[in-house]
């Protein structure tokens, strides 16, 4: 549990406006200044529509802000070209989506391999890493099964294996427990704890009290209407 104090990601007055040229622009993120320290577990909490997902995708280099700066490991990513932004995303981030977003009729192993295809790794090395990632979640034996034949819990673990396969520094999870029952939610938290113990930074957006009351969480940022309105440290 080493919540370092080195700034890893920092935003400076970042805003994200959807439909800026339309009559009804939506300011999903409103001049937010915050940071993520290296190695910490940070939770963004807030009601639906408060801008958690929007902020998360800005931090995760999935989209670019309409205004403000985002510095990732000393590099301003707000104005990077698309390909550069992709490189950042590929090298630093692993994503766990609420809906898993697995390709149902590809085998498990192929799903886990997806993030590695556009790299320079050899196919052999790719397979080795994918098997290692799956092995961690006791899924190695099911590597060649079609995803659609797996249980929900197994699917989630495949999705997590995929998020870890490129050895990311930051794991970003959006509402990871939204559709999970108690047991699976516990399991997920245990996995997140494990990931954190690897030394990875974890950023979670959620409104699930099971998460932000959990002991692994270092810090909770409260969001309302696109703004950060509070911070709790544990």
């Amino acid at each position: 549990m080493t919540a370092g104090h080195e700034r890893f990601i920092a935003t400076d007055g970042v805003s994200k406006t959807y439909n800026p040229r339309r009559a009804d622009p939506v300011r999903a993120v409103d001049t937010v200044t915050m940071h993520v320290d290296r190695g910490e577990v940070l939770v963004l909490e807030g009601p639906s529509g408060s801008g958690k997902t929007s902020l998360l995708s800005l931090i995760g280099c999935m989209s670019r802000p309409t205004a403000g700066r985002i510095v990732v490991d000393g590099r301003d990513v707000a104005k990077l070209a698309e390909s550069e932004l992709t490189m950042e995303r590929r090298q630093r981030f692993g994503f766990i989506f609420q809906q898993f977003h697995l390709v149902a009729d590809l085998p498990v192993i192929e799903n886990v391999l997806v993030p590695l295809y556009p790299t320079e790794l050899s196919l052999r090395e790719m397979r080795r890493r994918a098997h290692a990632a799956l092995g961690r979640f006791a899924l190695d034996a099911k590597a060649s099964r079609k995803v659609r034949t797996l249980s929900g819990g197994e699917q989630q673990r495949v999705a997590i294996a995929r998020a870890l396969v490129n050895d990311p520094q930051v794991v970003v999870a959006d509402e990871p427990t939204a559709h999970l029952d108690r047991r699976l939610a516990e399991e997920l938290l245990a996995i997140l704890e494990d990931i954190h113990r690897d030394g990875r930074t974890v950023v979670i957006a959620t409104h699930d009290p099971r998460i932000f009351d959990h002991p692994i969480v270092d810090r909770v940022l409260e969001m309302r209407d696109g703004r950060i309105v509070g911070e709790r440290r544990r």
Binding site: S63, E82, R89, Q98, L106, Y117, P118, E120, M126, R162
Partner: protein
């Protein structure tokens, strides 16, 4: 390099997911290309052959046109044409058509002048050199079950049966030229057809200098306004046009293939499915760049269309040059009762193959890549919201 191969690898995995659908596409697409290529290769082979063979045709043929129809020409015309500068031999040609009631097929009768050579490499036996002799093409021999040493009975213009001795039979390999021929001495043909004294079917004119043929033709036309001179280059040009790409069938099939492409492209261009868009978003979220995604789509299109093209081309080459166009022949044959068996002299240019490849592969790839463009350039954020 390795990255491209790996993206190809993933593209193949993606195609493998729907292998039966994709296999069906390859089969249908490959078949279309095979038909297209067969027609192209065949008409080209025939055109090449026509061009090569018909160099042996007369320099200039002068026919008479009366009331808008081809009519018998007075032999006197020959005298005057012979007087033109640069003109060599002018000989009346006797030939015509014969409907054979026994076999319900059409024969072509050709008369030759007396004079050597009587032997030709592609002729078993010899050409007729005495009255009541004839040589027949392979199709005629087969239809009438006759051959060298046998007889051939024909009905003359006045309804009488006339018996000819078959002294020669053209080999099958010359069928494209001789299949329906019966060759007689001119005198026999004139008698058989009852061509009036002093008339011929047309005149064959020898012109010493190739460059002067059209000048001679113009002069003939001026002297005898009721004639129509046909130069050899016009004959060659006719065959060029006859087998040209414009030929109706090719156009029809091609139009159909093109329409199929358009429907496919339209179907894809009018929006990829939400499922596909989501998949592209996921790829982008997982670190694929726009270029990688477009490359993936490129490989998907290229793998399908290249495989279809090559398989179709192989099928067409085998069909035309090894199987003698056995499947297409009936289509071309139409209502001909006597139809020569084809042995195609291949004429393939690399250019042809490239045009065919270009016209088939490129549209397909384009219609695979283009619709994904928009999804590929969009920020992947959308997938976070499902």
């Amino acid at each position: 390099m390795r990255r491209h191969l790996k993206i190809l690898e993933f593209a193949l995995s993606a195609l493998w997911r729907r292998r039966f659908k994709n296999l069906a596409i390859v089969v249908v697409y490959g078949f279309t290309i095979a038909v297209l290529a067969s027609i192209l290769l065949m008409t080209d082979a025939m055109r090449g052959e026509a061009e090569q063979i018909l160099i042996g045709a007369p320099d200039l043929v002068v026919q008479r046109v009366a009331a808008g129809r081809h009519d018998l020409i007075p032999v006197d015309y020959a005298e005057e044409i012979r007087g033109l500068p640069g003109v060599g031999e002018v000989s009346p040609r006797y030939w015509g058509y014969y409907f054979d009631a026994f076999t319900e097929s059409n024969f072509t009768f050709v008369g030759i002048d007396d004079g050597p050579p009587y032997e030709l490499e592609l002729l078993e036996g010899r050409l007729p050199s005495a009255p009541s002799e004839c040589a027949v093409g392979e199709g005629v021999a087969r239809a009438r079950s006759t051959g060298v040493g046998h007889e051939l009975t024909l009905i003359s213009h006045d309804g009488l049966g006339v018996i000819f001795d078959v002294v020669g039979e053209f080999q099958a390999s010359s069928s494209i030229l001789t299949n329906d021929l019966v060759v007689f001495r001119n005198a026999d043909l004139v008698e058989l057809f009852g061509i009036p004294e002093g008339r011929a079917v047309d005149l064959s004119v020898e012109v010493f200098n190739d460059g002067e043929v059209s000048t001679v033709a113009a002069k003939v036309k001026r002297i005898f306004p009721d004639t129509r001179p046909i130069t050899r280059s016009e004959i060659l040009r006719t065959y060029d046009a006859v087998f040209s790409w414009r030929s109706g069938m090719l156009l029809t099939v091609f139009a159909a293939a093109l329409a199929a492409f358009c429907i496919l492209a339209w179907d894809k261009a009018t929006g990829i499915s939400a499922e596909e868009r989501r998949e592209i978003g996921v790829l982008k979220a997982l670190g694929w760049s726009t270029r990688d995604v477009l490359e993936l789509k490129f490989w998907e299109g290229a793998a399908i269309s290249l495989t279809s093209f090559l398989l179709g081309l192989i099928a067409a080459l085998v069909h035309i040059f090894l199987l003698g166009a056995s499947l297409l022949a009936p289509v071309i044959q139409g209502w001909s009762v006597l139809f020569p068996e084809f042995r195609f002299t291949p004429s393939i240019t690399v250019y042809q193959l490239f045009v065919l490849g270009f016209l088939t592969v490129v549209p397909y790839v384009a219609s695979t890549v283009a619709p994904s463009w928009k999804a590929a350039v969009t920020d992947p954020e959308e997938v976070m919201r499902g």
